[in-house]
Amino acid sequence: MIPMMAVLRVERGQRRRVRLWLPLFLLWLLALPVLVVALPVVAIILLAYSRNPLRVFAAYWSVLSAIPGSHIEVSGRRGHHVTMHVY
């Protein structure tokens, strides 16, 4: 499953808290028409460089579909706290 949602949480002390839900699935929907046009062109370019386009696309797809579950959390001085989670 490709990343569908990312949550970014920023905390500065007890008072300032921001939580952003980033709907990545909208990004994929917007990118889909561009990808449909771009993929054949990219495939031709890859073939010109003697690269197997299927192998390249499969590798990038496996990276993309492995991203969900990633989690980054950083707590710093003065109560600063940033969290990013990809669903």
């Binding site: 492995a66 579950g69 989690h71 950083v74 710093g76 001085r77």
Partner: protein, 143 residues
């Protein structure tokens, strides 16, 4: 000691909960009211690589700097596979850059099986760093 038990004791030590609250939580844990989510530290069932960094505060009153990163193991494997698509020149440049930093590592020889083997032997790696009187602790493990 399970991860939950450790967490409760840490909260008690930090003064975030009282002794009564800690006792109640420990009892609840023993009676099964709190599910023990202690990660299985065996590579076979692991899904994520966890990197925890804890650094002592620079001044008194500052909070401890903490970094907590969870990377899906699948992403690491996919990354290693992606390496095969890099042009040979780029891989040579990577090797050269690593050698300049004192790391004798050949990117060309690194395969998914090597990564699995490395992670299987990782268990719970803990590194203590002492730099300019500021101590930091790095823990790397699979969960």
């Amino acid at each position: 000691m399970s991860e939950n038990r450790k967490r409760i004791l840490e909260m008690l030590a930090n003064g975030r909960i009282s002794a009564d609250e800690a006792e109640r939580l420990l009892n609840a844990l023993e009676n099964g009211h709190i599910v023990d989510d202690t990660p299985a530290r065996t590579f076979g069932t692991s899904k994520y690589l966890r990197i925890l960094v804890e650094r002592e505060p620079e001044r008194d009153g500052d909070e401890q700097t903490k970094v907590n990163i969870r990377v899906p193991l699948q992403l690491l494997r996919a990354g290693v596979k992606l390496k095969g698509l890099l042009p040979e020149d780029a891989r040579d440049q990577m090797n050269e850059a690593l050698r300049e930093k004192g790391v004798d590592f050949d990117v060309n020889q690194f395969k998914v099986e090597n990564l699995d083997e490395m992670l299987a032997n990782l268990n719970d790696l803990s590194i203590d760093i002492d730099k300019k009187s500021r101590k930091a602790k790095v823990r790397i493990f699979c969960e």
